[in-house]
Point group: D2
Chain length 328, copies 4
């Protein structure tokens, strides 16, 4: 199995470096007859794109996706769907200093050791830019699943500021993608201050999945929670994953645990129950603050841009499990 | 890919129900010439076995492993290693009531929905007993890795009681497998009280990996942290996974994060750095308290018995990545 | 992917050496609710078993299968189906001479080079005895497919003797499994003569598949013909595979080829058409004639015993493709 | 596992339709530090390209490959190597008639049944044009293997004309890629006559592999012969595969078989011996003769163009097995 592929029946294979010619993805296993266009992809890519607000990097990436295959007359054909995004505005010269100066907390040093010959520009494959391929794959995955399924990601916490209310309608209205408009303001102000001090912040993301079909996932190694953990931890900035009661389980008693089905997180025995699935992911603060702060080419808080990536990965896992369930 | 297989180059395929004829595992991809015996397996199986203390189930499982294949004259041959453990003391009749009464917080209900025809006795495949197959696979995996590698699991927290010191020498000396002898006493007393009240407790496990080779894992989907998350969440009782700074990343700034390499958890860009790898897993309280409490056939705190399972799964991931790294 | 596993959604993992404790197979991905018993397995295992006639080895293997898991109250549960066959009558001492004397035309020498430490007794994993695991998996596969599907293998040729007629009713009535009763007699007499001269014969097997569902297989790498070729060549004695017109295509013109749909062999563009699928496999003569001839422990013509193995492998490929087609 | 991916450790994932925007391939698992350029690819692509002689289609395809990723400063980085070939000269309108008129002996009809929505232009994914992706992957694979390894394909037979001598130096000097210059002339003349009669011819290809490392392949399901059969049959025009003595085994005795190691075909017990590996593939005559003959857009004999594709597929299998052998 390729280390750049993900999924069992529905698979994505991603390729490309942040400062090479292009990035892209091949999604295979998608049934035929599903409407798909570049516009569908743009909606989600735009959510991941940098340069959108005061709290994300000022880099501009246009991210124009081109569907190369697998779609004919506006519908999928059952053949592999390849999508290409050309790199523009690469400014590789900004990164020349990184050739011999690996960044602390970055993959640079381990890449050099493991591969000897590496692409030092902008992190190469370890760049967050690779995740646009995941977002594309997530759009395809979403279309495979029942229409009523909803995947909603939001920022639960940034530094000391935690959301106190949950209003999904406001998530896309604030730069940090928080479902609590009041907390959002505090989060943004906190991030702006850190940015001005050449610093950055970590955070917490919650992914809420509503109307997931019952019966997704398998009892032992294909547990839905394990596939989701794999998917979520495959994103660079993520340092932790939990579902349902999560780490608070440590201090619970059994009676408390079974008293509220919300603790189960919509998954029992590795299999979806049909109830809401709730996932959380902890996000580390951007570590490339020292060298790149002067150029403005980093995100003082990556949380809002990671949200669509985690939504995409979770959706992909569900779609793969959904197709698998048809064989069982 | 089978939902009962795990791994890429080194694979384990597990089978068997808790109340069927036997459980077992086929480990494939192990190089030839490695000494392996049933005694090696027994050492670890004994650590996972129930009935060992006041805070685990009183069920007695003898767990006698038989190596069926892949070992000749005391050494591995490069062929698949099949190990069988017969079930004894099954007392299936104890579970007859479960045929039509699924337990809350258990896989029973989702199994019935997904598979229609299911084995209701003792959870079938969702039983914790399946994990003995993982422990066996972990023993094989350990022997593939460099001798100096150490994988040490311990109980970090139970209910309100958290370990304050770390002395690996005392871990196996107390029933809860805590590296802080003083905290261990409090944890055990806490669990005993819950047990007497037909209740149970969750907890927190830490897995410390010392002397892991540099360069294990891959940049995108084979990230070491993602494979470890998949492995850890594939264990039934686990509700969360983190590495390094974990969920505390949410409140850190970038300057704090890069100031201490311990935050990186021994993994950068998805690849091991050669430093200590530190993982944490949250464990939910046993939920089968109501129906089975009277028979004493449940664990009031599963943490000590999950520790060798998580050690095994983490070791397996490392061995698989280690073999993969030889091709890169 | 394990080198001892086969299949994508429906998988089999086989284990065991001919002179170890046992052989076995884990079949995973079988849907729940399918009736399965040891008697079902015995019917097919008996067809593969040696010691049945003058033209097969006189070794007696009882091959008593035990279903260890995945079946409850007579029906599959959707969990992995493990089946064990203990080895008896191993007479390992007969093979002691092989420890340092690899047999010509056998895997012995390459095993020694590749694995250093090997099980020399009876070929270890390269023994034809491993194929009983395939036969078991084939029985499970057959039950997944539509009932009307038929897989009929027969001996087309042995040495200079070729079947001239096709009467499926006589196949199981003669020791060589030929569908032409007259040719069968000549084949058997030919083999008996070779056996008396401490020699052996190759042959040709045809597998006819009737009523296969339309639409099995995929356009590029999952072509049904490629999966079948992989399956057929995974059997030790097979030296060639063809379907439809096969090697006679070399001398055909396009007009001749398209004039008769039988030339297509029931597969177009890699996908089954719903018409009869016809496969052929060439079988090499048993090469272990010199050392083992005196003990009578070899088959002067392995063709009749390979037939149920190829039927099983072809059936398995079809069942795997059938399950896959449900996701497309 | 994706139906458009091939390989275990070294994988290729191909995408694209013959009349879509582009075709391409992602090769993953290639070690870092290997020199690779578009020129390397062009050498082999040119051999597969149509429009080169009187006996191939007159279509002109320029096939300009662009390496999108995985190569930096002229060397592989260990990251996935994506290569894109844009389609030009598509003339899709030539195929408009095929929308509702599937061609006999073609995948058209089964595609329609299986996928409902299909790309009818030029066969879509079932087009021979997809094989340029294989040729690209083969170039990468070749560079992974020891330098001394040679893979030489040649045309053994066309219609009634069979090569009588073997002079590798002349293979690329004649349009049919035959190693017997005299037979080549007869073959070409035979094909030209068929072409003039709106007809086509099948043929036989032999692939000779010299200096393959010992020990490639695995004993049971990863047998080198099985992987090669899968690879060879994954090419559209192939109707049969054999190695070593092949189908002539049917008429051999055991004494004859073991008397000449050439019969073993360089593979014993599924594992390479280090001796010459000899494969044969039967090729069906082009079936799209009726509708496309008038436009000259078909190959009256596809054999010479399939040769580099089979070389590539065989090389890929060897490179994958070579990387796998490093873990054993």
């Amino acid at each position: 199995m390729s280390s750049n592929s993900f999924g069992q029946i529905l698979t994505m294979t991603t390729f490309g470096e942040s400062h090479g010619a292009a990035l892209g993805v091949v999604v295979d296993g998608c049934p035929s007859g599903i409407a798909l266009s570049e516009d569908d992809l743009l909606v989600q890519l735009k959510r991941r794109r940098p340069g959108q607000s005061s709290i994300t990097t000022s880099r501009v990436e246009t991210d124009e996706p081109e569907i190369l295959s697998g779609v004919f007359e506006g519908k999928t054909t059952g053949m592999p769907i390849a999508v290409l995004v050309r790199n523009v505005n690469q400014r590789s010269q900004d990164y020349e200093i990184l050739r011999d100066h690996p960044r602390p907390g970055h993959a640079d040093e381990v890449y050099s050791q493991k591969y000897s010959h590496r692409d030092h520009r902008g992190g190469g494959r370890s760049s967050g830019r690779e995740t646009l391929a995941r977002v594309i794959a997530g759009v395809v995955a979403k279309k495979i699943l029942p229409k009523e399924l909803l995947v909603v990601g939001h920022c639960l916490q940034v530094g000391p500021h935690r959301a106190q209310t949950f209003d999904p309608a406001v998530i896309e209205d604030n730069d940090v993608r928080c479902a609590d408009a009041v907390a959002a303001k505090r989060m943004i102000s906190y991030i702006e201050d850190l940015r001005d001090g050449h610093n950055s912040s970590g955070g917490l993301i919650e992914i809420l999945i509503k109307n997931a079909p019952q019966g997704l996932g398998d009892p032992v190694f294909g547990k839905l929670k394990a596939r989701l953990a794999d998917a979520v931890l495959s994103v660079g900035a993520v340092t932790g994953f939990s579902y349902g009661i999560g780490f608070d389980a440590a201090t619970q008693t059994g009676k408390e645990y079974i008293a509220d089905r919300k603790n189960f997180g919509g998954i029992l025995g590795g299999i979806s129950t049909g109830e809401d699935i709730v996932l959380r992911a902890s996000i580390k603060p951007t570590s490339s603050i020292e060298q790149t702060a002067k150029t403005g080419r980093h995100d003082p808080c990556i949380v809002p841009r990671v949200i669509p990536v985690l939504e995409a990965m979770a959706t992909f896992v569900l779609a793969d499990a959904y197709l698998h369930s048809k064989t069982q």
